[in-house]
């Protein structure tokens, strides 16, 4: 016997109204306000908002080579963090899904989730300690110090769970028999990984990369803590908003990652990975 879902009645509609309103007004409204503010400017001296339409912010953005540099650097870090996380997540997720006993698997899932319970700041400062020239890493003879390297390490650490979890879910969906079939047909482990595992979990990888990529694109706090003198897109936005009090310029620059992410999601949509989120 099969039960068909009833068509949604007026009651369901009412239930959906508050979240839809929230999405429409609060969420998209905030984006709209951001977009609008990008066309305003501030009084240079007092820092007060001047609500008059101008394209100055965008002109400055596209003419100032420093913003191009910072945008490219941010993109580069985002790509690097995503790659590092992908390279780390694949074997970890594979071990969790296909090698570990059910008991060990549960423990590992908890271990992967655990860092998410700790405050972001605590973890970032922990890495500040790790990366310090007199920190634990220096005892091992590696001391990257504060800067791009330290930043990539820290961000890769911070976002790793967001990569492992979807990839783990993807690996779990992959039937063991496919791996056995590949091996049975003569493929050594590497070939099986490349030709069967990787294509199967690719959508999951893309799903994870959406997290690692966008979280890196927007980060500015970890940069301040372990990035040394490095500036990222988020820092320029935060400095313009919080320090220079130039909300319009901050808004204009903040539109850049929004556009980048929309472009990325557009590409991703073709891979069908959005269904795996």
């Amino acid at each position: 016997m099969s039960t068909r879902p009833r068509p949604p009645g007026p009651r369901t509609g009412l239930l959906l109204l508050p979240p839809l309103l929230w999405l429409g007004v609060a969420y998209l409204g905030a984006l709209g306000a951001l977009f609008l503010a990008a066309f305003w400017t501030t009084n240079e001296f007092t820092g007060d908002l001047v609500r008059v339409f101008t394209l100055d912010n965008f002109r400055e953005l596209f003419q100032g080579s420093v913003y191009r540099t910072i945008t490219l650097r941010t993109l580069g870090v985002a790509v690097l963090v995503t790659l590092v996380d992908a390279v780390l997540a694949l074997p970890i997720a594979f071990f969790m899904a296909k090698v570990a006993s059910p008991r060990l698997r549960r423990l590992l899932v908890i271990a992967v989730l655990m860092p998410l319970w700790a405050s972001y700041l605590v973890k970032a400062y922990a890495w500040r300690g790790m990366l310090s020239t007199s920190g634990p890493l220096s005892w091992l003879g590696i001391s990257p110090g504060y800067g791009l390297t330290g930043l990539v390490i820290t961000l890769a650490y911070l976002w790793l769970p967001y990569m492992i979890l979807p990839v783990f879910a993807g690996m779990e969906k992959l039937p063991d028999s496919l791996l056995e079939a590949s091996s049975d047909l003569g493929a050594p482990a590497r070939a099986t990984f490349r030709r069967v595992v990787l294509p199967s979990v690719f959508p999951a990888l893309v799903a994870g990369s959406i997290f690692t990529f966008s979280l890196t694109m927007g980060d500015y706090i970890a940069v301040k803590i372990v990035g040394g003198p490095t500036q990222m897109l988020g820092n320029v936005v935060a400095d313009n908003y919080g320090v220079a009090n130039n909300l319009p310029f901050a808004a204009a620059y903040a539109i850049v990652p929004v556009i980048v992410m929309l472009g990325y999601l557009g590409i991703v949509r073709r891979t069908g990975a959005l269904e795996n989120l």
Partner: protein
């Protein structure tokens, strides 16, 4: 090292496999000849799949050795063994087309593209799927997928093909067709087929030899005819066909001897009892209509058997005419020729 010419295709020597406290395979030794269609038959959980997986290399035997064509492969990884498997769930790669699936084994062995293509197309033609190479496995029916899995294994020209209940997921009609087709293909390619099934009829129709499994052990290895006509144990007699067991006081009363006996249902006469036949009287408990024939279940007028149950014989009778010989509750006389009484080995202490 043994001579290759006389080496069996597969040789298992004292192979055992335990999972924790479960003894999946218990001290098994078996030789399978080159080009043989060999079936492993047994109830679910009797260890057939485990034997197959050990031969493929997916499981390591706890003890014992496995040889393929005279070479010890016990420690060899699956991708080095010259065997291919047709999985029960087919295990087709969903992200590849049918043709790519079939090509896979050649691709990972770095066979040149042109040769790969032609061999794969050829293999698809063998299973009559050459028109479907561009499709995804998800776009095929169950029977078609099964044939793709077969082509994907055969294209590698293995010495041995392992098949784990390959027809289990198909409906009866298709299964019958595929049984014939499989047998034909095996004859064509002439390689050893090691076939796992729990369906006795399937095993009997397709196999050159059958090993009957129970609880991780082989009960009997024989040709289908031997197995049916002369099962050596109550288990085999019961698993292959209907057994009609008589033992204990029932055996003494009906057969006139001590021991355990079986008479196949089609060997028992209901009315036209021939000369020289042994007879017994009973009451019809049930008549089961089978279409071309009827099953008569008859409670014998005899003391209970070794298990304490009323001795019962099932009789198969062709539906030639509706002669209405017997209905439920009718008293009836049964007869059989002495040569059709099969004497079984008494159950060993262990398995009792």
């Amino acid at each position: 090292m043994r001579d290759h010419a006389v080496s069996p295709s597969i040789r298992l020597t004292n192979v055992a496999k335990t999972f924790g406290s479960v003894r999946a395979v218990d001290n098994l030794s078996l030789d399978i000849a080159d080009g043989e269609f060999f079936s492993m038959l047994g109830p679910s959980g009797s260890g057939k799949t485990t034997v197959l997986r050990m031969i493929a290399g997916f499981e390591q035997p706890t003890t014992g050795t496995i040889e393929l064509a005279g070479t010890d492969v016990t420690a060899m990884p699956p991708f080095r063994r010259d065997v291919n498997t047709v999985f029960q769930d087919y295990a087709l790669f969903p992200h590849m087309s049918v043709l790519e699936n079939v090509e896979y084994g050649l691709r990972v062995k770095k066979v040149a593209k042109a040769e790969r293509r032609s061999r794969a197309s050829e293999a698809l033609a063998t299973v009559r799927l050459d028109a479907h190479g561009d499709r995804r496995p998800s776009q095929l029916s169950g029977g078609q997928r099964q044939r793709v899995a077969l082509a994907r294994a055969l294209v590698n020209r293995p010495k041995v093909l392992l098949l784990d209940e390959p027809l289990g997921a198909l409906d009866l009609q298709l299964r019958r067709e595929m049984q014939i087709e499989l047998k034909e293909i095996q004859r064509e390619v002439g390689i050893t087929f090691l076939f796992v099934t729990h369906d006795q009829e399937e095993a009997l129709t397709m196999s050159d030899r059958i090993a009957v499994f129970n609880e991780g052990r082989i009960q009997q290895v024989a040709t289908p005819r031997e197995l049916y006509e002369s099962p050596t144990s109550a288990f085999v007699a019961g698993f292959v066909g209907t057994s009609n067991l008589l033992s204990g006081a029932a055996a003494r009363s009906v057969i006139g001897r001590e021991g355990m006996f079986s008479i196949r249902p089609e060997k028992i006469h209901l009315t036209d009892v021939p000369d020289g036949a042994s007879t017994a009287a009973g009451t019809v408990r049930d008549v089961v209509y089978l279409g071309s024939a009827n099953h008569y279940v008859v409670d014998l007028d005899a003391p209970p058997d070794a298990t304490g149950a009323t001795p019962t014989l099932t009789v198969l009778r062709q539906n030639l005419t509706d002669d209405g010989v017997s209905r439920r509750g009718d008293r009836i006389q049964l007869g059989w020729l002495p040569e059709h009484v099969i004497e079984l080995q008494p159950p060993t202490e262990e398995s009792a």
